[in-house]
Each structure stands twice: as C-alpha cells, then as structure tokens.
C-alpha cells in the first residue's frame, strides 16, 4: 500500500529521534503529543491531524514484552 511522502518522512524522523533518545539515555518527561489532548485512544481530532514529528514517546511505558520477546504464542 502506498503511503504519503509526508507520513513516510514523519516516520523517518520519529524513528531517528527515538533512536537518538535511546542512545543517549537522556531522561525524558512525558511530552504532550496532541496539543488539544488525546482522546482515550490517543487519536487526534480531524483538525489536529497531520504527521507530527520529533517528539519522543515515553520509553518507560512500552511493555516489557516488546523488549524481551512476546509471551503470547505460549513459547516465548
């Protein structure tokens, strides 16, 4: 499936920023991704949409299985 160039660029930047954050292990504070506040799923309203870049997610909040393997198949 073809993705827009702006979205691909945003992903590239997002990965780069996150990689840099991981490498330097700098302390992070939660960053307001959606200025208007996310709804419960974190999805933005139509007005807020548009690929945001350069804002790291909170690494400490990523589940352990993403770093240590996945338990779900039962053999992880």
């Amino acid at each position: 499936m073809k993705l827009s160039k702006s979205l691909l660029s945003a992903i590239v930047l997002g990965i780069a920023v996150q990689s840099a954050v991981s490498c330097t292990k700098s302390s992070l504070k939660p960053v307001g991704i959606n200025p208007g506040g996310p709804n419960q799923t974190g999805l933005q309203s139509e007005q807020q949409k548009g690929p945001g870049v350069g804002r790291p997610y909170e690494p400490g909040s990523i589940p352990e299985w993403m770093r240590n393997g996945c338990p779900a198949c039962g053999m992880g």
Binding site: M1, P51, R67, P71, G74
Partner: protein
C-alpha cells in the same frame, strides 16, 4: 477466494519500525497487524504512529492482535472488563478488518502479566472460551479469530488443538490465525509428521497466517533433546517458508500473511537486512498464489452473527483455583523434580488436566516460560 495481502506485525518499537521502513517506502506492505493492547497503558503515542495506523485503517487494512486478554481464565476478571472497554474505544478510533487473540490462559499474578499456557479441553473451558469470544466480538464489531498455540504439554493436546479451535470459533463464525512457526515448534517438539498435523486443522477457517522465527533451547532433564521455542527473535527458518508454500493454497479464505518479529531481534543492520529479505520471500510466495483470487471482493466471510452474550460471564471456580495453583508451581518451583512433586500433590492430579501424561521436557519448558515472564512482570 480473496486476494492475499502480505503484511507485517508493526508496533511502536523503534527496531521494528526501522526494519519495516524500507518495505513501507517501497509500498510492499499491504496491511499491518497491530497489538493494540500493548498501548493501552501508554500515556503518549506519537502522532506519526497514529497516522500510520490511520492510513492502513482507512483502507481496511489494519488488523488487531491482542495479547493480554487471557481468554481461558476460569474467573471473569476486572482486567478483562477494562480490556474490552479499551478495545471498544480503540475500535471507535480505528477500523479493524478483524481482531484476534491468543489461545490459553496467562500465568502471572493476575493472569495478565505472564505467558499463556494450555488448558484442558473440556466442556467447561469450551463454554468459557466461547463466552469470551462473544464479548470480544461485541466490543469490536468485526470478525474475531484465535491463534493456534505453540505450547503443548503432550502429543494428545497437539492432536486435539485444531478440533477444539473449530468448536470454540463456531458460535462467533470466527477464524484461525495459523501460525506456521507454532506448527513448526510442535512438529519438532512432538516428532509428528506435518501431513498428519495439518489434517487436524479446519483450514477453511484460516483467514490469517503468521510467519516468524524462534530459538532452540536445551533440555537439562533430557540431555540431547532440543526444544523449539516461538520466541519471535530470529529470522524465519527455511522450513517455515516451505510450510507456507504447502499450506497457502489449501486455505480458501486466507486474506493475510503476516511476518512477525520482535524488536529485540532487529537491533543490528544485518538482522534488518535479513528481515527485509524474509519479507520479499514471503511476498513472492503470496504473489505466486494470488492469480485467480479476487481483489477487494465483498468479504462476507467470518461476519459476526447477532450478539448473544450470557450475563453474567461464565466462570469455573475450580478451574480458576487450578490455574492459580499451576501458575504458582511453575513460577516458584526450585527444580523440575520439585514442580513434578508439587503437581502430583495438587488438585490438578488425576483431573482433566491430565498432568500424568505431560512430557517432562515440556513441563521443564513451561517452568522456564513462566519464570521468564514472572521475572519480567516483577
């Protein structure tokens, strides 16, 4: 027959995303599978990841893969109620083409922070599983499916798994994710022939196939015995691609072939290159099977029937206590011998769990899995 879409399991993980990026840039990824419940407790999700999900969702090419529901917990738990509410919120934001979960019950202090293990195949567990699937379907309002489990304690369980899945899914018109690496684990761990094993699965129910890698682990109690584990942290073995070539034409309702690998196996450039090549190989097999299949047909397979949910949720207190007992033994026994002794004295002895027929090396593996995830959770 629907056209088959080559897809990747794509989650909010830098290594996975960096590995998927070249494939996304070349427009090779036709769909993505997202483990939505991994982000239920994440406070801030970056816009660009949400936009990625939204782009696939808009085209009807986003599929959801839950991890933490614990389908067969004997007791209905508050965490399950919360999980369903969060799924409902998520599906209000993203349209899933289907939603899936895993087979088994999770070990761990609250059944949501461990590893899923097999359950006895009884009328009681069948009722619980059917009840939970109805609730998932009512929450997500789309087709629902279950993945075949990699772990079994004995060959009898392996032989019964396909039939039990079929019975579980029948009331919700559900489908199977056929994880070929999970089958590969069972072929090796139980020395069963592929033709014999695949004949035991209702392949008309397969809507999705998983292709992934894993690892080998030595058994200490049976020196020389190697256990294949579905750790998702390595390249796809050639044998799994061969299984895909054999099976793909035998699944008339297949729509997605998903490559799954976790970020911990994608940290180096070499591993990302292999990931890319593996996807190309997957894509080539899919493309070879697609002639004669229809692009974007009106997909009426696996549409949910009218909701029919029993209130209150079906529970089995005895099963629940046995699950707690088993989890505690697996997580705390100091050795295989101690685990065996404690099991023999437990309420699981001479019951539907049939612990007397469990293969020692698989009990040893269960201990290893439960301990690993107990350590991660704590």
């Amino acid at each position: 027959m629907p056209r088959i879409l080559p897809a990747v399991a794509c989650n909010l993980d830098t290594n996975i995303l960096a590995s998927c990026l070249p494939l996304l840039e070349e427009s090779r990824v036709e769909a993505i599978e997202w483990s939505f419940d991994a982000l239920f407790h994440v406070k801030q999700v970056p816009d660009w990841f949400l936009e990625l999900l939204a782009a696939f969702s808009k085209e009807g090419r986003l599929i959801g893969h839950g991890v933490f529901f614990s389908l067969f917990s004997g007791k209905w738990l508050p965490e399950q109620e919360t999980w369903l509410q969060q799924l409902q919120h998520t599906t209000a934001a993203f349209r899933f083409d289907h939603v899936t979960e895993h087979f088994g019950f999770m070990t761990g202090r609250d059944f949501h922070h461990g590893a899923p293990l097999n359950i006895p195949y009884t009328p009681s567990t069948l009722s619980i599983g059917q009840d939970r699937l109805r609730r998932i379907q009512a929450a997500c309002c789309c087709p629902v499916g279950l993945e075949n489990l990699a772990f079994s304690y004995c060959l009898d369980e392996v032989r019964q798994h396909g039939e039990f899945l079929d019975a579980l899914l029948e009331p919700v018109n559900g489908f199977i994710i056929l994880d070929l690496h999970n089958l590969f684990c069972q072929l090796h761990n139980f020395d069963i022939a592929f033709d014999e094993l695949i004949a035991l699965y209702p392949l008309e129910r397969v809507r999705e196939i998983h292709v992934s890698g894993g690892s080998w682990e030595d058994s200490y109690i049976m020196p020389g015995r190697k256990i294949r584990r579905d750790t998702h942290d390595d390249a796809v073995p050639p044998e799994v691609f061969r299984l895909l070539e054999i099976v793909i034409g035998r699944c008339p309702n297949l729509k997605y072939v998903v490559m799954e690998q976790l970020g911990n196996g994608l940290e180096t450039e070499d591993s990302r290159t292999i990931f890319y090549r593996d996807f190309l190989r997957l894509e080539a097999i899919v493309n070879k099977s697609n002639p004669g299949r229809v692009s974007d047909p009106v997909d009426i397979s696996f549409l949910p029937p009218l909701a029919d949910i029993a209130h209150p949720p079906i529970e089995d207190e005895t099963l629940y206590q046995q699950q707690l007992e088993l989890s505690a033994i697996l997580e705390t026994a100091g050795s295989y011998g101690e685990a065996r002794q404690r099991l023999d004295r437990s309420t699981l002895a001479h019951s539907a769990w049939r612990i007397e027929s469990w293969e020692p090396y698989m009990l040893e593996t269960a201990i290893s899995i439960a301990r690993k995830w107990a350590a991660v959770a704590h």
